[in-house]
Amino acid sequence: MAEKVSNKSVLFNPFSKNNPVIVQVLGICSVLAVTAKLEPSIVMGLSVIAVLAFSNVIISLLRNTIPTNIRIIVQLVVVAGLVVIVSQLLQAYAYDVSKQLSVFIGLIITNCILMGRLEAFAMANRPWPSFLDGIGNGVGYAIILVIVGFFRELLGSGTLLGYQVVPQAFYDAGYVNNGLMILPPMALIVVACIIWVHRSRNKDLQED
C-alpha cells in the first residue's frame, strides 16, 4: 500500500466523497429495481451492509492463504454463501419483505460494489479496517437507496413505509400520484439529481 489511510477515513469516505453509487457509479441496477417503495430499499440496504461487512472480514482473514489464480472464485463463493444465508433469514423472519425483494437479494452476488471492495480493499488490508470499509461502503450504498426510495414512494404512491402521507385533501384538489415514479427509469433520474446536487457541492469531484 502506497499510503496509510486512517480507519476513520476508511469508514466515512464512502458516505460522500467516494460514494460507491453516486461517485463510482456501481450497483446501479439494484437501485433501479428495489427502490419503488421505501421499505424494500431499507431492507436491501441493510442486507448489502451485512453481506459486504462480513465478506470483507472473511476475505481479509483468508487473504494470505488464498491462491492468487482462484481468488475471484474464492470471493464469489464467500459472497454467494453469505447472500444465501441472508435470503434464508429474510424468508424466515421477514417473509413479506423477502417476497417483495424476491430475486434481488440473490442478485447481491452480482453487485459490483461487493467484488470491487473485496478485490480492491479486503485482499490487501487487515480484518478491522476491512470491516469498517465494508460498513462504510454498505452505508454509502444504503443512503442513496433510501433517498431514492423515499422520493419514489412519496411522489409515486403518496405513501411512506405504506402509510398515507399525502392528505386526501390534495387528491380532492386535483393532485395525482406520478405513476412514472414507480417505473425503473425514474430511479435513474432521481440518482442523476442526487449526483447533480452532490457534485455542485463538492468542487473537487467536478471534471473539466
Partner: protein, 235 residues
Amino acid sequence: MNKQSNSYTILYIIVLVLVVGSALALTAMALKPRQQENADADKKRQILASVHVVAEASEIASTFDKYVTDQFIVNEKGERIGDNAFAVNVANQSKESAAERQLPVYVCTMPGDGATKYILPVYGAGLWGPIWGYVALDADGSTVFGAYFAHQGETPGLGAEIEKPAFSDQFEGKQMFKDGRFLPVTVVKAGQKPLGDEDYVDAVSGGTITSKGVAAMLSDCLSPYKNFLETLRNK
C-alpha cells in the same frame, strides 16, 4: 508450502466449498420450519382474502381454521379423490392435462349467515412471471363471491394492479354458468366485449399481457372444475 501449486489450489477450494456448503445446509435446515410456517400462513391469508376476510398476522392460522370448515380434492369428473387440499401444489397441477389434475376445493362457512362458499385456486402466467389467485363461488357453483389475485413480478402500476381490490372486486356477482352452459368469467379491454356471451370484467389499462394471462388462467384452471360445479348447481 507453495501457495501457487496446483495441489494447494485444489485442496484449498475443496475445503472452502465443504465449509461453505455445510454452513448453508445447517442454516437451511435450522430455518426450514419457520419458513414453511410463513409460506403456509401466507397461503392461508390469500385463501381468506378471496372471501373478504382479513386477519392479523398472528391470527391467520386460527382464523383459517374457523372459516375453512372442509377441504378436499376432486378430479375432472367431479369425484372426491382426497382430503388434503392444502398440500396440493397448484403450480405443478396446472401443468398436467385436465384429466389428470388434482383439483383442490376449500369449503368456507361464513359465520354471519352460515352460507357456504367454495374456494378454487388458479395459477397461470403473467408477463414477467407466474400469477395466481383464489376464486370464491357461492353455494350455487356459479356466482362469484370474491376473488384474490397475486403475482411474482408484474410491472408496478401496470400489470401489478391485478392484486388490487379495484381489479379483483369486479368479479363479484359474475356468473360461471350462462343459460346452463359453463363459461368461466373472462377479462377484456374496457369497452370491449368477449366473443362468447360469458361474463367479463375490465382489464387493467397498460397491463394487457397480464390481463390476458388472468383470462387464460381462469379459463385453464376453472374449466376442469366443470363437472364438480355442475353437481353443486344441480343440488
